[in-house]
Symmetry: C2
Subunit: 441 residues, 2 copies
């Protein structure tokens, strides 16, 4: 979609909490808005500058301050790259699950601000499920500590969860205490192809109702399958309408049993092909198709609008079919890739950016997909956030009472409205900028 | 501890959200405070009346409105008894994990308000880990909906988590959408006894560092062991200084392997006795000792002060030993029972209520245990909440910045200060009541 991208008055790269305090004290004294920014991998423009702001980039605050195997936690600064934390704890047999697609370059601060997800969510939840506590610099420069080092604790309001996912509108996260898990077993991987999306929808439904908890359950539609095959020549079944990819990291016999149950369900529902493997190399090859979906789609058109709708798991097939109806009505291609296991789908509208008519139709299709998601009992954002591009849709999803509670909390914590103006809340037409296309990561 | 218990001006028992709206509209129009109350099983006085308030009891809003196997969720009214939801979903092979000790009579509304825990937390988390969305009546009578039916979603602030655990100070929860899990396998159970608490501390530490995730891991000290044995004549090892109880519900071979690993760790650390069983009846007998700990302790003294401290898991042995030092200094018995797996300990100070000197020393001991918890990096409440009895300790744990953020949020959502006065926040000396002892559930 379109996200404003202005020119900041200054870009600061703090190295410490004290630096951030100084920035916020100066900003609040002079009434200058501040846009916090991590690795810049976000998809909704939440870290884009607005003219005249201070952009506060946290990438130099990149220390892993502590890893405790005894308490199964890590204390990190916000600029640590997500992958770097994974690597830092792997030697101790520990595991930090959240794995956004950009985890090679996105930062934990950004993950926290947006409450990022990834492929692991179906079993392990999202970023907020792994946060024990935060240090946050408030709009006026005061330093707040939330949460604790213990796994349990109910002293006071859950401020940790309030700041996680608040998209930089309530404070600047300067430190986080993250819970870790034991490293999972090497997964067993399954791939299945189907002649219809309805079949994959039924498979997901049965996975849920039969009580399976795979560690990954992804789906790609025919457009994605063909785009990936065009790019990689990987011999995918180009006639399939949907490809399902699953993993179980339950370990040993349990994983084998879980994948066997999945195989049975896929076969029952008429899969054209089901293949599973416990060989890590072969699994990587199979999953490369999923990982390459976005690059492959980028070759299909000069413009891509990546959507991010989550629907109840029983409505996945309805949603995928609805997306194809949207595509037909718009006369455009809509490719669907998604985290089927948790109902978080990423339909992508493909169009020619140089064609004004296609641009209009693409945005109409993008909106129609959001409306479809809400109609099916879903949400306008499963994991990418609201940012600048979905503020009106947020109002539509939440309604006036919730929006007024949101504003009351925002006003209580940031009365001058300094933090990340235009994100989450619509701005009152200040310095309207020409819209700039920024559709990809 | 001591919790105020006043006389309400009125007690209302609404049957619907509309009834609650009417109560809150009337209350806000006339400036009358409202104390929400569920089953009344809370341990910190959070649902106690204050003179002149309206007590709003939700027990007649007791419908399970929906159970969806497809979306693995339930929609409930707040007055549903926790156990009743468990029973309602069991037939579908589903499971609602939170299991406070009072789950036969406490209500989900109270669980939500307090973010209750239980024995399951070590593997499955607390109440807030199972909430997808809420309906809340705000102080002014407006109806707010938070969250969603999808498992993933990041549209707006996490208001769901803000209301869960807010102890009735921000709104009245009138409906909740709760996520369910597949029913776990029948557990394998282990009991081990030790000659020192330090040994059990080391066992817990190794469980954490070796990556085991039992579905239960409880500890009892010698005072509890003897009290339970006196009550039940169950042949417990009266010379043991600590008894550890664990379960694995990983299923089949995985559960056997997990309990075998636990057995090895217990033996390594010098357990006097380790016994495990996959027989459900025998397991019930073994666990009866844990369930009877509180009734057994109630026979030891006319007064009991039940504490609720969570410490980092590496500090459990330090905490248990520290409690014994507190007991020696106070010249009283302090019995420790606890959810060792998540570091949430319940030391109980036993005293004679008719003895003024013992009462004083008991309260000093209670406070000394909270101070010890904070000193070890823990929290003053792992699962019981702040209520009326720990408001000063909340300030001590959170500090002035966090308290001012708490007050800003409270003022933003309840500007008249109508909801649950005296809970979580200290009251400005209004109608000081004589303190009433209410130390137990």
């Amino acid at each position: 979609m379109f996200a404003e991208a202005g020119v900041p008055a200054a870009v600061v790269l703090p190295r410490s909490t004290a630096d951030v305090v100084a920035v916020m004290q100066t900003a609040s004294r002079h009434g200058v808005p501040v846009v916090p920014r991590g690795g810049g991998s976000g998809l909704v423009g939440a870290a884009n500058a607005v003219d005249g702001v201070i952009t506060l980039v946290t990438t130099r605050m990149d220390a892993v301050l502590e890893v405790s195997a005894t308490d199964r936690l890590a204390v990190v600064q916000p600029g640590v790259v997500t992958r770097a934390l994974r690597d830092a704890v792997a030697g101790l047999g520990l595991y930090y699950p959240p794995d956004p697609a950009s985890y090679d370059w996105c930062t934990l601060g950004g993950n926290l601000a947006m409450d990022s997800g990834g492929l692991c969510c179906v079993k392990y939840g999202v970023t907020s499920d792994h946060v024990l506590g935060l240090e946050v610099v408030l709009a006026d420069g005061r330093v707040l500590r939330t949460g604790r080092r213990t796994v349990k604790g109910v002293a006071g309001y859950d401020l940790t969860r309030l700041f996680v996912g608040s998209e930089g509108t309530l404070g600047v996260i300067t430190e986080a205490t993250l819970s870790l898990r034991p490293a999972p077993a090497t997964p067993v991987t399954l791939v299945a192809s189907f002649a219809s999306t309805a079949q994959t929808g039924r498979v997901v439904q049965r996975v849920v109702t039969e009580g399976l908890v795979p560690s990954m359950l992804e789906v790609m539609d025919r457009t994605c399958i063909r785009a990936v095959d065009d790019l990689m020549r990987s011999g995918l079944d180009r006639d399939a309408h949907a490809l399902l990819m699953a993993q179980s990291d339950a370990g040993g016999e349990a994983a084998v049993a879980e994948i066997a149950a999945l195989t049975r369900i896929c076969t029952d529902e008429g899969a054209d092909l089901v293949h599973s493997t416990d060989d890590a190399g072969e699994a990587d090859l199979l999953l490369a198709a999923r990982r390459m979906a976005w690059p492959a789609l980028q070759r299909l058109g000069s413009g891509l609008l990546l959507d991010d709708v989550a629907v109840p798991r029983g409505r996945i097939a309805d949603f995928m079919d609805g997306c194809q109806q949207v595509a037909v009505r718009a006369g455009l291609v809509v490719a669907v890739v998604g985290h089927a296991g948790d109902g978080n789908m990423h339909p992508t509208v493909v169009f020619d950016q140089t064609d004004a008519d296609q641009r209009t139709r693409a945005h109409e299709a993008f909106d129609a997909i959001l409306a479809l998601g809400l109609e099916l009992g879903g949400t306008i954002t499963g994991e990418h956030g609201v940012g600048r591009i979905k503020t009106e849709w947020l109002e539509r999803e939440l309604g006036p009472v919730s929006m007024s509670v949101h504003r009351a909390i925002k006003d209580a914590l940031d009365p001058q409205g300094l933090l990340n103006p235009g994100t989450m809340f619509r701005r009152a037409a200040v310095g309207d900028l020409p819209a700039v296309a920024s559709a990809q990561a």
